[in-house]
Amino acid sequence: MKTIDKYSHFLFTLPALLLYSLFFIYPMINGFLYSLTDWDGLSTDKQFVGFTNYWKLVQDDRIVDSLGFTFKYALALVIATVILALVIALLLNRIRRFQSFFRTSYFFPAVLSMITVGLIWNQLFAHAIPDIGKAIGSEMLSRNLLSDPNWVFYGILFVSLWQGLAIPILLFLAALQSVPKDLLEAASLDGASLFQRFRSVVMPFLIPVLNMIVILTAKSGLTAFDYIVAMTGGGPGRMTESVGLLVYNFAFQEFKFSYASALAMVIFVIIGIISIVQIRSLSRYEVNA
């Protein structure tokens, strides 16, 4: 019994280790090996070509554009989510009546599937919004914003927020409600302004949820796929081709499987570095606060 107990922490991790090695790490390694070949995904023969695919990647404008779009989108999504969710949570925390009704309503979009949300909004952008635009005489809104090169980015961002704000709002609200009332009262007796009270009293209670929200949102921004497939298919042209969609298109539409794998490896490294840096800096902040 004692000897088993000595290894029991290792045994605790064993199922996860097996699953993760088999269904994540092994496919990753496989993907890396494919990226060193010229395999198209279909042929029965393939040849080792070294790092040729990686050299080609560097020269491909489509990849640069796609990475640019994805990072811009993820960054905008994180910033907008944090600000809007916090504002809505503060508003919800203010009201005295119907709080649970509003809270439930704002949470509702979270229960829908991304594909469904994308297909529904695709219709709204094509019909409902132009109808409203025509009714109020706004030329900008009279068009399908998803086909407008200047607006498509914000169109997709808007839909991601429509659904993506739901959980962050709840998290912020719960954090706000966990701030002890007497702390706030003491601060306002000391003559602290609204902003000062927020920064010195409320903020420390928000940091842990902020951490969680940033991670969850960054994940959904960097891996954007479903909304884009349902709404623009990467268009107009290639303006909204996220890296997830690009890998998918390379591998499954253009039959450049090894090339897609090389791109996947590059994304893996870039995102891996970013996420480690992000997690480190956020958790340091948490300890200090």
Binding site: L42, A126, D148, G237, Q253
Partner: protein, 412 residues
């Protein structure tokens, strides 16, 4: 912990095999005992004919009670089929697109059964077979065709005293006349990239001829902008754009069809596959289709094989699979399909009764009037890239960017 885990898995595995008992177990039986039922999988990539296929399977079972044909039809089927091929998990029979380059790659890699000389192909019009041979061999069984043209609202045309245009100049006049009546000449959908791709491929072949077009794409030494083919294409694209509904950049395929069906737009450049959608949108007026007109006054039709089947080279039940595909090529079956699905058949002696599209589809068998889609000669995925690029030009109107994207795409 571990016993519990295995128990949970056993529970979920149990529910899967009970409701789904015949997918693997019977399908992989190796002995073809006469009394035992054999299950073959038919992977269908055209959801529109799912119900028709089920009826055909029923008829097939009257003669062949021991062969169960299981139809599988999934969203995003082409990618799914590709993933299954790459994983060595092919269906026995699958619908494929034998004109396309990915099919040739697959045929080259030996995924499909060689049907050259087989009696399965006996009923098929040889012209259509020639188009889809790979290195002189038959790996596919083409069953129906598609074709591209311009739908027009015949009732409104008559009311407004418009003639069906037979030259490009007449088409321009017709569009101008429609515009004068405050109606929309063309219902188009620039947001649907594939639909702009189809439209522009047709315009090119019609405007410049198939050989110059093929040469345009194959010639990597000349820049796109220097080519007459490219200049003519962009001019015609601009003409279509200027005569489309103002919302065309934001419209999807269904929106364009609706606009035509409600009589707001009088012409719809589209393939024959749009007929069920037009019907569904509640088209009241009479409508027909004319071939895209050109300067010679002789319209042409661009098209290709629409529905075709192939058998997996490694099928566990090759004889049964062949039997079913043979059944699909029998006149009786083909006629049933033609009557219900309305696409022109490749089977000798079978005629689809589709008066709306017949002015265009009859050209499929006319010498010198039928041309295959240019993208059949391209690499895999280039057709969807072409769609993205032409759609971007229709929406963003940046000719320089369009030209350089074509140069990039085709290595110019």
């Amino acid at each position: 912990m571990i016993p519990l885990l295995t128990m949970m898995l056993a529970v979920s595995a149990g529910c899967s095999s009970s409701s789904n008992g015949n997918t693997n177990q019977e399908g992989q039986g190796t002995t073809d005992d006469n009394t035992k039922k054999v299950t073959i999988e038919l992977f269908n990539q055209k959801s529109e004919i799912k119900d028709n296929l089920n009826q055909i399977i029923k008829d097939f079972n009257v003669e062949n009670p021991n062969i169960e044909v299981k139809q599988v039809q999934v969203p995003d089927s082409r990618k799914v089929l590709y993933a299954r091929m790459a994983s060595n998990d092919m269906p026995d029979i699958m619908s494929i697109f034998p004109n396309e380059s990915d099919f040739r790659t697959q045929a080259k890699s030996g995924y499909f059964m060689d049907l050259t000389g087989s009696d399965i192909l006996a009923n098929i019009n040889p012209t259509f077979l020639d188009d889809v041979k790979y290195e002189g061999k038959d790996y596919s069984v083409p069953l129906t065709m598609n074709a591209y043209g311009i739908y027009y609202n015949a009732t409104q045309f008559e009311k407004l005293g418009l003639k069906v245009p037979t030259t490009w100049a007449e088409l321009e006049q017709t569009a101008a006349a429609i515009k004068e009546k405050d109606l929309i000449p063309f219902a188009t959908s620039f947001k649907a990239q594939w639909s702009v791709g189809h439209l522009t491929e047709t315009l090119m072949v019609n405007g410049s001829g198939l050989d110059p077009v093929n040469q345009f794409f194959a010639d990597t030494s000349a820049k796109a902008g220097d080519s007459a083919v490219f200049q003519k294409l962009t001019a015609q694209m601009e003409f279509i754009r200027d005569n489309s509904q103002p919302d065309a950049p934001g419209h999807d395929y269904a929106d364009a069809v609706n606009l035509f069906a409600t009589g707001e737009a009088l012409m719809l450049p589209q393939g024959i596959w749009a007929v069920p959608m037009i019907q569904q949108a509640g088209m009241q007026d009479e409508y027909k289709m004319f071939p895209v007109p050109n300067d010679d006054g002789k319209g042409i039709v661009v098209g290709g094989i629409d529905y075709a089947l192939a058998i997996a080279a490694k099928s566990k039940h090759p004889e049964e699979a062949k039997k079913f595909v043979k059944f699909m090529t029998e006149q009786k079956t083909a006629q049933y399909l033609a009557d219900n699905e309305k696409s022109p058949s490749t089977i000798n002696g079978v005629k689809a009764d589709a008066p709306q599209t017949e002015d265009v589809t009859k050209l499929l068998t006319e010498e010198g009037r039928y041309y295959p889609w240019p993208h059949f000669n391209w690499q895999a995925g280039q057709d969807s890239n072409w769609g993205a690029e032409t759609s971007a030009y229709m929406i963003i109107k940046d000719k320089k960017a369009f030209e350089s994207s074509i140069n990039n795409e085709f290595g110019k």
